[in-house]
């Protein structure tokens, strides 16, 4: 296996059709790095919206209130049941459905009034489209996390006089995080790459579409794909490190092993007691 891989790498580095000179030339091109920044921003805002709304939807589905859980169910049905590409095209056309938006009291005075078509709304609608779609998936992930926390936990919290909201916030959700984080890490990494679909809105300033435009001008698609791939890989690597630390943070109390802090305290205690220690 290693030998085959070595042969492939050797072949790739010596095959001039890869145009490694072009790769090197565009790897740190300012259009590429700006595209990467747009991709990161899209990922961030879409996930913020997706996680926030997804959590709300999960709580609604579990609330026991038939209206709330019905609304959440319909939301999931629509947003998971249609392609995200279709949704992005739809949000792109939203401005032609509602060209004028005013925020205020219905039939009363308007606080803000603007023509949507004159606003550069592509970025906004790209975040909205990706985030609303993501919320459908996050809702199920959060719901699985909440269901993984035993009933005894909310019994105990309720018996202590804690309200439902307080019980969720302080007792159930922190424990659910252990189950929620790994698939959410998946979702973030998946979102990073799904952002390449924002061309549907249309928004062309993200990493994928930037490299696509450059490649179209110089007629060398392969080195630019490799450039974009390198950037995606680099960002994913950073995200994976971040996920690792998140998981450690929410693993508190999950293991019988002592935490470093407890071990330090124990070592100090033993040191004080009897000169030398173990």
């Amino acid at each position: 296996m290693v030998g085959l891989l070595g042969l492939f790498v050797y072949g790739a580095t010596t095959n001039e059709r890869y145009h490694w000179d072009t790769y090197r030339k565009y790897l740190f091109d300012v259009r590429i790095s700006q595209g990467a920044w747009v991709t990161i921003q899209l990922t961030f805002w879409a996930m913020v919206l997706g996680i926030g709304l997804g959590t709300a939807l999960a709580v609604m589905r579990l609330s026991g209130n038939p209206v709330l859980s019905g609304v959440a169910w319909i939301y999931l049905w629509i947003f998971r049941g249609t392609p995200v590409y279709l949704q992005l095209v739809f949000w792109g056309l939203f401005t032609s459905l509602y060209p004028h938006m005013r925020f205020g009291i219905p039939w009363g005075p308007a606080f803000v009034h603007f023509d949507v078509q004159y606003v550069d709304a592509a970025f906004f609608f790209a975040c909205l489209g990706l985030g609303l779609n993501e919320a459908g998936y996050m809702a199920e992930i959060v719901r699985a996390g909440i269901l993984s926390v035993g009933e005894g936990q909310s019994d105990a919290a309720t018996a202590l006089g804690m309200s439902w909201g307080l019980t969720m916030r302080r007792i159930v959700l922190p424990q659910a995080m252990r189950v929620i984080i790994p698939p959410t890490g998946n979702e973030v990494i998946s979102m990073l790459k799904t952002t390449s679909l924002v061309v549907a809105v249309p928004l062309g300033s993200d990493l994928y579409n930037q490299q696509h435009q450059i490649a179209g001008v110089i007629f060398q698609p392969i080195p630019l794909l490799l450039v974009a791939g390198t950037w995606y890989l680099a960002i994913t690597s950073v995200l994976m490190v971040g996920q690792h630390f998140f998981e450690k943070r929410f693993a508190r109390g999950a293991s019988r092993k002592m935490t470093p802090r407890q071990l330090r305290a124990l070592a100090e205690e033993l040191g004080k007691q009897g000169g030398g220690g173990p």
Partner: protein
Amino acid sequence: MTSFVKSPNSPSGQPMVDAAGVHKRFGGLHVLRGIDLTVRTGEVVCVIGPSGSGKTTFLRCINHLEQITGGRLYVDGVLMGYRERGDKLHELHPREAARQRRDIGMVFQHFNLFPHMTALQNVVEAPIRVQKMRKDDALAAGRQLLARVGLGDKEDTYPAQLSGGQQQRVAIARALAMKPKLMLFDEPTSALDPELIGEVLDVMKQLANDGMTMVVVTHEVGFAREVGDKLVFMDGGVVVESGKPADVLSRPQQERTKAFLSKVL
């Protein structure tokens, strides 16, 4: 050693728990079929009975973790979980029900400690978040409580690192931190290894001696005989027999009581 309870045996004469004809149905399942029971302030009432007899369900009805479907249940003179208008019961807003529960401590068979919090955090969580106690005061009170249940050196320990007996003692301290006027114990030693049962019963015994009003669902007949003021035998969703523990245990009047006791004694 200072006592757990501020003013034991308030002389009001008002019963702490007053259940009259309490029914509980889960769908078609009729679990409680008219429970009448009075627990006086300062009294320790032990409830025994075969599994499925409704003991735990009744206990959970007392602090309205379960909604009763018939009868009346008063704690310290207050109707639990409902408002009475005419002869109809209207369920309270969850916030008001939560307010009623603050004064009632509960200890569970499986401890139900919050695993993501240390022992001390478990104890101070509700005083800080629910009673809005100042953090320093709550921590000081919490440390004192942990010391009283013999776990003063375990405040930074997570539940998973404690033995079952230690976890249950933390759970008792957590319930006491809310300064309850009534403590409910749901088979507090049933999930424990035999050698760990004693340490939990000792804490409960001390609590009883300090004058806490307690309702204890248990299989520990020895504890009931020694500490209980009253023993209640439940079967099939009704109170079959009740009285002084020594009397019920040595001279049971009902056939069903005799049959049960012959199995556990």
